[in-house]
């Protein structure tokens, strides 16, 4: 990779714009840098020095990236939100599947049941996990990151398990094992829900940046 492309990778990275706009920005900046190198060459400096002067004169890539991010922030936000929501729902479905498998194992421990979300009604759990995953994806799509996902996931998990535990215990419909696994679910929500939320948030961030990363045009 040339030093111009390495610079552009840094200056244009993580911009959530559609690929056509991304290519435009990349091409525009690259064209300017190439002209700047040629301009310095005409001033009489060698290629290496011309490149160094051009990159130095163009500004800090991190600063340029933050300014471009400010201007283009929100351009592809809804597409990003929808993708993040889909990823969250997919992870929620995975949890539901693991939960159903755990239930098939009659001798599973309450801790295992809690760790895969297998407490409470069989019907509500998949709906809850899928909806929660989707909501976390939607809410964390704008800011993303570990802490946003972890906080949202922990809260969602805590509220869901607390509701399941209270309703099941008060109504007396839970077996002792179910009641215990729901109680474990409440206690473990910062870990289990947090990990779930963080996985949705970080996963969607990685997925989206890979999908909309600026691509150079090969000429």
């Amino acid at each position: 990779m040339s030093s111009i492309e390495a610079y552009l990778d840094q200056a244009c990275g993580q911009l959530y714009v559609n690929p056509a706009v991304a290519t435009d920005i990349w091409d525009e900046l690259r064209g300017h840098l190439e002209e700047l190198v040629a301009w310095h060459r005409r001033e009489g400096v060698d290629e290496e020095e011309a490149l160094r002067l051009a990159l130095a004169g163009f500004g800090e890539p991190a600063k340029l990236n933050s300014y471009l991010h400010m201007v283009h922030h929100g351009d592809g936000l809804w597409a990003r939100r929808l993708k993040a929501m889909a990823l969250g729902m997919a992870l929620g479905s995975l949890i539901s599947l693991l939960s159903a498998l755990a239930r098939q194992m009659g001798s599973a421990s309450p801790l295992l049941l809690a760790s895969v979300g297998a407490a409470g009604s069989q019907l509500y759990l998949p709906i809850g996990a899928i909806t929660t995953g989707g909501l976390i994806g939607l809410l964390s799509a704008r800011r993303g990151g570990f802490f946003v996902g972890w906080t949202l996931g922990s809260l969602a998990w805590l509220v869901a398990y607390a509701a399941v535990w209270v309703s099941g215990t008060v109504s007396g419909s839970f077996s002792p094992q179910e009641s215990l696994s729901a109680f474990y679910g409440v206690l473990l929500s910062p870990i289990l829900g947090g990990l779930f939320g963080a996985a949705v948030s970080l996963g969607s961030g990685a997925l989206l940046s890979a999908g909309s990363r600026l691509r150079p045009t090969i000429r």
Binding site: R30, K63, V71
Partner: protein, 113 residues
Amino acid sequence: MAAIGGDILKGNTLTLILNLLREQPMYGFQIAKEIERRTDGTLRFREGLLYPALHQLEKEGLVESEWQESDRGPRRKYYLLTARGRREAERLRRRWAVFSRAVNQVFGGRSSV
């Protein structure tokens, strides 16, 4: 004369860009070099930082852009003023005239206190 950049220039970047574009459509490199040339290198800034400003102006509908092939290198993206951009350029130009006259009055005036 030492080059002026940083915050002094940053606050007036849009005024400079819009008023240069009143004359003719230009592309980024051309804008940067034209500002530098007309001021004998006094106004000089990190050229990459021109692009967020141009993109912002485009988003606000003050300029439009179009790609043009160049026989001297890579294709170039030219920016041209919209009607709204032309009015804004004029407004900023008038504001600058008032401001610079006021500053000059402060520098040239004598205290009557």
